[in-house]
């Protein structure tokens, strides 16, 4: 059962509601959409999908609640706690403690996990509450016309009661209650799986550093798995209590709670997230080129507004020139790539002057290369320098001596990995403090200003300009080894094919043999590699080698290209391994087969 299909299913359901309604929901109503069997809606709801396990646990206990107590709970809540939409979610933080006490059954060790879960839970409630509370204004006008069931819902919405779903459940077909919300949908997706996978969908992240911790994690994870039932049962009893607690606790100071929240989340080394991996998603990793192609098909939205923004900034060009000449340097910040803007600045203002464009995001950039391009290309100096500092001194002197020299430095991403170091910044700062070197730079990183202490800031003499462009960081991110872009993968693969292409067919056959064997055996956890003797036997049978010497020579060549690794086993036998992940290996084999 693959995910996309399911999604499609659900989308079909959406249309079942009626196209007009769907449109209305998407366009205007935020809360209203939520109550439908609709996955297409505001973020608010969508993000529930990535909620944590406690989420599902919660759902469990809500079921129970629904069956027995929902009326009471509702009643409680309507008269009860004044849920404040604006209230920071941190303020309900302390509930977990009380609740876990009420639970009684929570053991000492599990307490941490439990409180953590609850923390998330209460947080979610507050969140949900606040978001629900925000919606009614818009949804009222719409809902009144359309569906009576939601009308009932509105009062609860404005109360910000998380259980408002249940009102809907009541009015809806009771049999299908779970599918009424996206969360419910997720739930439905999860349920069948959880039978087969037995909850292992979620687990604490195994921290890599410490085995002891890892073990502890496992223990905790087990507890998590065991808990749902007891928790659900307990919750039925304790539900009224926990509904009341927030009102008291909410009075707490919000900043101290934020701090508490931080430490609570960071105190344990484990984090609960789902275990799903991209491999299960069956979505091939894209490489840079296909990514670009795909993205080029997307029509940029808000182009009129963006253009307006850019025009606004372009009007500043003259002012920038003036201020640069008067001894200030200019730094641009704000969301969006500023590369195009600077490029336009360059082409419109700097055509008649010497300037250097420096791509800070270029992975091979260094201060040395910047200085080199100044000395060699701008100042036409052929000599070399002992150190970067020498070079800097030389440049400084040169510019001080000859005041007719002028140089514009345009640095894209002054805060990039390569340039953000203290020394680099010091040197660039010193360059920029020269009165005939004009620096205009852009920064993007959240913490970029931390690079500069007072001394450096006075060197730079910045004037800050906010230029939020919302342009995609296409160029800037194309170099970096991005998370989802297949770069690390394509490199070994292409090197594999390249190396093998230069080998004899026999050698290729040998390698193919080894990789096939490895792929066949990859499932077994005890697989340590193919022993040399077995391998020799197989190669002989395939008429690939005639003596173990030729095989050894071949293996040496592989080893030199880092295509294989040998390991001595416990019995002293040599084992051969290909140090490439199985996905790449499969790709490679497929490619090979295509070619041959």
């Amino acid at each position: 059962m693959s995910k996309p299909e399911l999604k499609e299913d659900k989308m079909l359901e959406v249309q079942f509601v009626g196209d007009d309604d769907v449109l209305n929901h998407i366009l205007d109503r935020e809360g209203g959409a939520k109550l439908k069997k609709e996955r297409a809606q505001l973020l608010v709801n969508a993000k529930k999908i990535i909620k944590k396990p406690e989420y599902d646990l919660e759902e469990d206990d809500q079921e129970v609640l629904k069956d027995q107590n929902y009326v009471e709970v509702l009643g409680q809540d309507i008269q009860g706690p004044d849920w404040h939409p604006e209230r920071p979610r941190g303020s309900i933080l302390s509930t977990p403690v009380t609740r876990s006490l009420k639970n009684g059954s929570a053991t000492d060790g599990g307490n941490k996990v439990y409180s953590f879960q609850n923390r998330k839970h209460s947080e979610k409630m507050a969140k949900l509450a606040s978001e629900l509370a925000k919606t009614p204004r818009k949804s009222v006008s719409f809902n009144l016309k359309n569906d009576p069931e939601i009308m009932i819902n509105i009062p609860q919405c404005s109360k910000g009661h998380p259980a408002s779903d249940k009102v809907q459940l009541k009015n809806n077909d009771k049999g299908e209650f779970l599918s009424t919300t996206p969360r419910g949908l997720r739930k439905r997706l999860m349920v069948p799986r959880s039978h087969s996978d037995s909850e292992s969908e979620y687990s604490a992240s195994n921290s890599e550093d410490d085995e002891g911790v890892a073990q502890e994690c496992e223990a905790d994870a087990n507890e998590v798995i065991l808990r749902p039932k007891s928790q659900a049962q307990n919750r039925v009893v304790s539900a009224p209590v926990c509904k009341e607690t927030p009102s008291k606790k909410m009075k707490r100071d919000k900043t101290s709670d934020l701090v508490e929240e931080y430490f609570e989340a960071h105190s344990s080394s484990k984090v609960l997230t789902s275990d799903r991996t991209l491999q299960k998603l069956k979505r091939p990793k894209l490489d840079q080129q296909t990514l670009r192609n795909l993205l080029s098909k997307v029509a940029p939205s808000f182009s009129a507004e963006l253009k307006q923004l850019n025009q606004q900034y372009e009007q500043l060009f003259h002012k920038w020139m003036l201020q640069l000449h008067l001894g200030f340097n200019i730094v641009l910040y704000g969301l969006g790539s500023k590369r195009d803007l600077l490029e336009r600045f360059r082409t419109s203002m700097l055509q008649d002057s010497v300037h250097v464009v420096i791509n800070g995001f270029f992975p091979g950039i260094s201060v040395k290369s910047i200085l080199n391009s100044i000395t060699q290309e701008v100042l036409d100096h052929t000599g070399t320098f002992r150190s970067v500092l020498d070079q800097l001194d030389w440049i400084t002197n040169k510019f001080k001596e000859d005041s007719s020299l002028e140089l514009f430095l345009l640095i894209h991403n002054l805060d990039s990995q390569m340039l953000r170091g203290d020394k680099s910044q010091q040197i660039i700062g010193q360059l920029s403090s020269l009165h005939n070197i004009y620096l205009i730079a852009s920064i993007d990183h959240l913490n970029a200003p931390l690079m500069w202490d007072h001394a450096k800031q006075s060197l730079y003499n910045w004037l800050w300009y906010e230029t939020t462009t919302y342009s995609p960081y296409t160029e800037e991110t194309s170099y970096e080894n991005s998370l989802l872009v297949k770069q690390s993968g394509s490199l070994p693969l292409s090197s594999l094919t390249h190396v093998l292409r230069s080998l004899t067919p026999n050698a290729r056959g040998i390698f193919r043999l080894l990789s096939k064997y490895q792929l066949d055996n990859q499932e077994s956890p005890s697989y340590a590699g193919l022993s040399f003797q077995d391998f020799y036997q197989q190669c002989r049978e395939a008429f690939l080698v005639n003596s173990d010497l030729t095989l050894r020579a071949q293996l040496t060549e592989f080893r030199d290209h880092k295509l294989i690794r040998t390991k001595k086993g416990a019995d002293g036998v040599e084992y051969l391994l290909i140090p490439v992940d199985s996905g790449t290996l499969t790709d490679f084999l497929e490619k090979e087969e295509e070619e041959s």
């Binding site: 995910k3 499609e8 989308m11 769907v22 449109l23 935020e30 996955r39 297409a40 973020l43 608010v44 969508a46 999908i49 990535i50 909620k51 992240s205 195994n206 989340a265 960071h266 997230t273 990514l291 795909l294 997307v298 808000f302 009129a304 963006l306 009007q315 060009f317 003259h318 002012k319 020139m321 003036l322 008067l326 200030f328 704000g334 360059r346 700097l350 055509q351 008649d352 002057s353 010497v354 420096i358 791509n359 091979g364 290369s369 290309e377 701008v378 993007d444 959240l446 970029a448 001394a455 006075s458 003499n461 939020t468 919302y470 995609p472 960081y473 991005s482 998370l483 989802l484 872009v485």
Partner: protein, 673 residues
């Protein structure tokens, strides 16, 4: 030529040699950006002139302020050096010699020290400091080679020595002065080793260390263990505190009629706040001042009148029609016109010549207003700066800010200050009055000459009061001398005295006089300390665009990023992006959606979940579009968009890849929404 490549990151562009010759004068940038370029050349020149003057003034001030410090420092150097001369002959005082004379210099600002460097030492310090850094690493750079270098230099090249040292050339071997600008930032280990080593070599290599310390002198003992600090013979020189420095700078640059340019209350507030709460840097303060000056001349066409009075009068004559129109449009001028008789109103609005003449007199008034303003301000400051709890602030800049903002006499603080003034003792009042007298005396302005006279009179009255009081004292002395008595009688007599005082409501002469003084200063304040926006044409000299200053000097990139991600409507004024607080419409830019989703996670984020959530939202938004492309392709595109959004968030520093769990990223920020 393109500026992107996979093989290099630096691109040099050199225009043709011929083209390069034509360099655009800076003035051109001054007007091109603006549509109306009224007198822009003149404005730029005026800007330049005023800025140069201000710069000179600040430099002069700084030199003056640090003169004492430098003098004592130089004296110290000479003294310590003569010690070395003796010691080099007298081996008996070897132990004393081991103590490197160290001048600890508590400085707030670095550039003074740089100045000091250039004053005291020429070339040798460069060599020195470099070698010092590398002394620990390179073996050939030992202390021995250093001292041999020193003997070489001192023997053959006296003329090469800095002039300062040569003038006192009775020194046979001048000391080497090493200035460590920022002691706190040095690696302690290096510093310790260096001090130990050099103390061993002191007899052949006279070394004087000067530490620049920005925090407190105790830091020396914290950085250096006793064994090391005992090798130093420390003397402390304290520089002027930066706040005093600021006061002087303000005093000389803004609270004076020397420079026509003035700051409005908000601007001044921002500049002082940046100084007090962010950096304590005079340099930055002056930078802010420069920027305000530039902005003023850049954005205000009438700033052409922001110059010395005779010059401004001359310039008024040559104002263009457009500029006259600009004058008429000034709010302050319009207010002024409304107050005039109708005939004059018509003339002002239609007759250029009449307008120019009127503007001349208005400018003159403005000048006079400023002269009086600062005199009275200083005078008031004399009164209020010594009051308990400083209701109007301890520093004159605080008082100035309040006065700029509003009618100060309407404020509660002013009322309470007057209350307190009415309780001052005589000698306090007299010293204040004397100071005020000096203030007024210092100005040659005629309008307030009478005020000076009046203060003189008041002072004289106080003096005469003294004499009168003496008489009174002699007459009433017997009553004061209470005889020894019992408690009952004492209480009784005290009660009687109290009764007496209440019945005789009549104030003493002193009280009458004090009341007079207070009323006098009050009337001065009410007359002269009107806020500047009451003055016609004040816009020509006052810079008031505080927000631009804050934007450019004290920017908050994180806030900008946050706003852009959370509330795209702020930037992209599209109705579709309008949303209530905390929500984001699903049509928002991809990165905003991805950001919003990631806020929901704690430390780790599962990429699969994230991408699915993202796809949900985006699909919802796309539903409106025509379903022209297949769903598979659409999914792929959405996935690509997600990848882009995620890598952008990574670039921005919100997330980073982690190996804690497969296909997870770690959040780098804390807190949501």
């Amino acid at each position: 030529m393109a500026t992107s490549s996979v093989s290099k990151g630096c691109f040099v562009f050199k225009p043709n040699f011929k083209k390069r010759k034509i360099s655009v004068p800076i003035e051109d940038y001054f007007n091109k950006g603006k549509d109306e370029s009224e007198d822009s050349k003149l404005r730029f020149e005026t800007y330049h002139l005023i800025w140069q003057q201000m710069k000179c003034e600040t430099q002069r001030l700084q030199e003056e302020l640090n003169k004492n410090l430098f003098d004592s420092l130089i004296e110290f150097l000479q003294k310590s050096h003569s010690g070395f001369q003796k010691n080099s002959k007298d081996w008996g005082s070897q132990i004393k010699l081991r103590e490197i004379p160290t001048a600890a210099l508590v400085l707030d600002l670095k550039h003074f020290l740089q100045k000091l460097v250039s004053q005291l030492m020429d070339c040798c310090v460069d060599v020195e400091s470099k070698e010092e850094e590398s002394a620990q690493k390179k073996t050939h750079c030992s202390m021995d080679s250093l001292s041999s270098w020193y003997t070489n230099v001192t023997q053959k090249t006296d003329p090469k020595m800095p002039r300062k040292k040569r003038t006192s050339s009775q020194w046979q071997s001048p000391p080497v002065v090493l200035i460590l600008k920022d002691m706190e930032s040095f690696t302690t280990k290096v510093l310790q080793d260096f001090i130990i080593i050099s103390s061993q070599h002191l007899h052949e290599f006279p070394l004087i260390l000067i530490f620049g310390i920005a925090t407190s002198p105790i830091i020396i003992h914290r950085l250096l263990p006793h064994a090391v600090s005992s090798l130093l013979c420390i003397e402390l020189f304290q520089s002027l505190s930066c706040k005093e420095h600021l006061t002087t700078v303000l005093d000389k640059l803004l609270l004076t009629t020397q420079f026509p340019f003035k700051l409005s209350e908000k601007v001044l507030q921002i500049l002082t706040n940046i100084f007090l709460y962010h950096d304590f840097s005079i340099q930055n303060f002056i930078k802010g001042l420069q920027l305000s000056l530039l902005e003023h001349f850049y954005s205000q066409p009438l700033s052409v009148l922001c110059c010395s009075l005779p010059e401004a009068k001359r310039r008024i004559h040559s104002l263009s029609d457009n500029q006259c129109e600009n004058i008429r449009r000034l709010p302050s001028f319009r207010r002024y016109v409304e107050k005039q008789a109708s005939e004059k109103q018509v003339a002002l609005l239609t007759d250029e010549r009449f307008l120019k003449e009127e503007a001349q007199s208005l400018l003159e008034n403005l000048y006079v207003y400023h002269t009086n303003y600062f005199l009275v301000l200083r005078c008031l400051h004399q009164f209020t700066s010594s009051l308990p709890k400083y209701p109007l602030g301890r520093q004159i800049r605080e008082l100035y800010c309040t006065c700029l903002e509003k009618n100060i006499w309407d404020s509660e603080e002013y009322a309470s200050a007057l209350q307190l003034l009415r309780m001052l003792a005589k000698d306090e009042l007299m010293t204040i009055l004397e100071k005020c007298f000096k203030v007024f005396k210092s100005s040659s302005e005629k309008q307030l000459g009478s005020t000076a006279k009046k203060i003189e009179e008041l002072l004289a009255q106080f003096q005469s009061l003294d004499e009168a009081k003496e008489e009174e004292d002699t007459s009433g002395s017997h009553s004061k001398g209470l005889q020894k008595t019992d408690l009952y009688h004492l209480q009784k007599s005290l009660l009687e005295m109290k009764e007496l005082r209440r019945t005789s409501k009549k104030q003493t002469k002193f009280e009458v006089l004090r009341e007079k003084v207070v009323n006098f200063i009050d009337s001065l304040v009410r007359e002269y300390l009107l806020p500047p926006d009451t003055q016609p044409l004040h816009e020509a000299v006052y810079f008031s665009a505080a927000h631009t200053l804050r934007e450019h000097l004290n920017a908050a990139p994180r806030v900008a990023l946050h706003t852009a991600l959370n509330n795209p409507y702020y930037y992209l004024k599209n109705e579709a992006l309008k949303s209530e607080e905390g929500c984001i419409p699903n049509v928002a830019p991809d990165i905003c959606i991805a950001y919003k989703l990631h806020l929901e996670c704690s430390r780790l984020i599962n990429l699969v979940d994230w991408s699915e959530a993202f796809a949900t939202v985006v699909t919802a938004a796309e539903k409106m579009d025509a379903n022209s492309i297949t769903s598979e392709e659409r999914n792929e595109i959405i996935h690509a968009r997600f990848i882009r959004a995620v890598s952008e968030l990574e670039l921005l520093g919100f997330i980073k890849p982690t190996k804690q769990k497969t296909d997870h990223v770690a959040r780098l920020t804390w807190g949501g929404c």
